[in-house]
Amino acid sequence: MKTISVRVNGALAQQIGSSRIQVALPEGATVADLLDALSRQHPASGDLIRRAIPVIQGSHVSPEAALPAGQQISLLMPVAGG
């Protein structure tokens, strides 16, 4: 098992009650596995979790992508400002 650090923002962070979450996943888990695990941990936020955009090291990643060891993943809700 490995622990994945997840950063969330906006409405998702408000619903979950934190902007940083730790999720335990088996080795070789993908982004999709992370989203499923998070949805089980926070069932009321499932819709927002599915709409969030997964970003690792500044790049979008697809649901099929493996979660690299030691990297934080961000699940970002759309924001725009300025």
């Binding site: 906006g10 409405a11 408000q14 709409r51 955009i53 970003v55 090291q57 500044g58 790049s59 979008h60 961000s74 970002l76 809700m77 759309p78 924001v79 725009a80 400002g81 300025g82």
Partner: protein, 454 residues
């Protein structure tokens, strides 16, 4: 490497540029008081063309909160209809001298936002939706004041996708140099005549955010230093105006609404939405041309804003702006470049004084180096989903522009410059003193000399 500036060659380049001020196809001045529907679309008609060396004079409408509570507008801003520059082709660049920025609003309101549930298709800034009748991009009417005043014109429901988490109303002095946040009673009085106090341009369709009358902060004093949150060129494909940057644009990738892009398509952005407070009167901005004519647009004037714009939104105001444009053929840049006014440069990036040059020359000779490098400041804009990605983007752009390696750019930005946060989550300035021969090779030296002298 020590370089002697070829003064005669530089003067010739400058003279050539200036000589174009007096001739060329297109209008001498294009006056702009019309706005787009939130989508920067290269397929839509442009105003002009303005001639190379000509002027654009615009009356701009507030960005952010007003358009955000007007879901009929399909982006987060209400920027001006783009102006074509005569002769501009894909691969060129347009240099914009910002001659004047003047705030016309007497007051505005702002704060951080909370997104309301079930009021959008994936992105509340792009695709607002009435929660009752489900109309996407619904027209709205304002009934009364307060945060429930924006109603769907179709069914009458409260239709704003956003409300304030913490908000304020601020009024400005006649000289537009200071602002003070207001109490509830006064905020509500302004709310009843919102568009008057906002000096809303006649052709703007946005609901004025003054209508909401926020008053969480009272008696706070802010200095004004107005600049353009949006100033640039039209992207190569339709992009919501607020998302014409690598950070907000990232939310278009795979989005559920009709303006979704792929990661490859996002490269057609022009990063006009910078929110960099140095984009103010006296600065020179150089923008990529990614569609024929370039399509210079502007909007989202900010009365003041700290680096990062960490609240997400600042004091958005109406105003008048005067620009002069020059066409730079074949510059082939991916994103904007900026020559800030000297006082906006980081300390280490400021041009050397004559006295500093003389002392440095002596020091160099003392240590066996014949000549010191001649260099002038430049700021390369980088954007990305976060600040790390934005910095990498800016470094790569600088390296490509000036024929350097990224490690060299990093060294220069470390000891003769800085990485400055423009906007959180992902706009930065990579600023440093660049060798004049590299600036000259890209046709940029005349602008650097105009800003900073020899």
């Amino acid at each position: 490497m020590a370089v002697k500036a070829d003064v005669e060659q530089t003067d010739a380049a400058r003279d050539e540029l200036l000589s174009r001020d007096g001739k060329g196809e297109g209008h001498e001045t294009v006056f702009v008081d019309r706005f787009i529907d939130g989508i920067l679309d290269p397929g839509k008609p442009m105003l002009g063309p303005v001639r190379d060396g000509g002027h654009i004079v615009a009356n701009t409408a507030p960005g952010c909160w007003g358009p955000m509570i007007t879901p009929e507008i399909r982006g987060g801003h209400e920027v001006t209809q783009p102006v074509a520059v005569a002769g501009a082709e894909v691969g060129d660049a347009i240099a914009i001298r910002i001659k004047d920025i003047s705030v016309t609003s007497m007051a505005t309101a702002s704060g951080n936002d909370t997104v309301l549930p079930d009021r959008c298709v994936g992105d509340p800034y792009v695709a607002g939706k009435c929660p009752e009748c489900g109309t996407v991009y619904p027209k709205t009417v304002v009934e009364g004041i307060g945060q429930e005043a924006v109603r769907c014109a179709n069914c009458g429901a409260d239709a704003t996708p956003f409300k304030f988490a913490n908000g304020y109303t601020i009024a400005f002095d006649n000289g537009r140099s200071l602002g003070v946040t207001l109490n509830q009673k006064v905020a509500e009085r302004l709310a009843r005549e919102a568009k008057n106090y906002a000096a809303m341009p006649e052709n703007s369709i946005q609901n004025s955010i003054l209508t909401f009358a926020p008053h969480d902060l009272v008696g706070l004093v802010g200095r004004l230093r107005p600049f353009m949150g949006q100033l640039g060129t039209t992207p190569g494909l339709p992009i919501p105006d607020s998302h014409n940057a690598g950070d907000f644009g990232a939310f278009l990738i795979g989005a559920p609404h009709e303006y979704a892009l792929t990661a490859e398509e996002l490269a057609q952005r022009t990063d006009g939405h910078m929110d960099i407070d140095a984009v103010r009167a006296g600065a020179i901005l150089i923008c990529p041309v990614k569609t024929e004519g370039g399509g210079v647009y502007l909007g989202d004037m900010h009365a003041m804003q700290g680096d990062g714009e960490i609240a997400g939104h600042t004091t958005d105001v109406s105003g008048t702006v005067t620009l002069q444009v020059h066409l730079l053929k074949g510059l082939n840049i991916d994103g904007p470049l900026l020559f800030p006014v000297e006082e906006d440069l980081p300390f280490l990036a400021r041009p050397l004084t004559a006295e500093e040059k003389a002392r440095a020359q002596s020091l160099a000779q003392l240590w066996g180096t014949d000549e010191i490098e001649e260099s002038l400041p430049i700021s390369v804009i980088g954007t990305g989903p976060d600040l790390n990605a934005a910095t990498d983007n800016g470094l790569e752009r600088a390296a490509q522009l000036l024929d350097m390696t990224v490690p060299e750019v990093k060294n220069r930005a470390t000891i003769t410059g800085a990485i400055e946060i423009g906007r959180h989550p992902g706009v930065v300035q990579v600023t440093f003193r660049a060798p004049v021969d590299r600036l000259e090779a890209r046709g940029l030296l005349p602008f650097a000399r105009d800003q900073y002298g020899s």
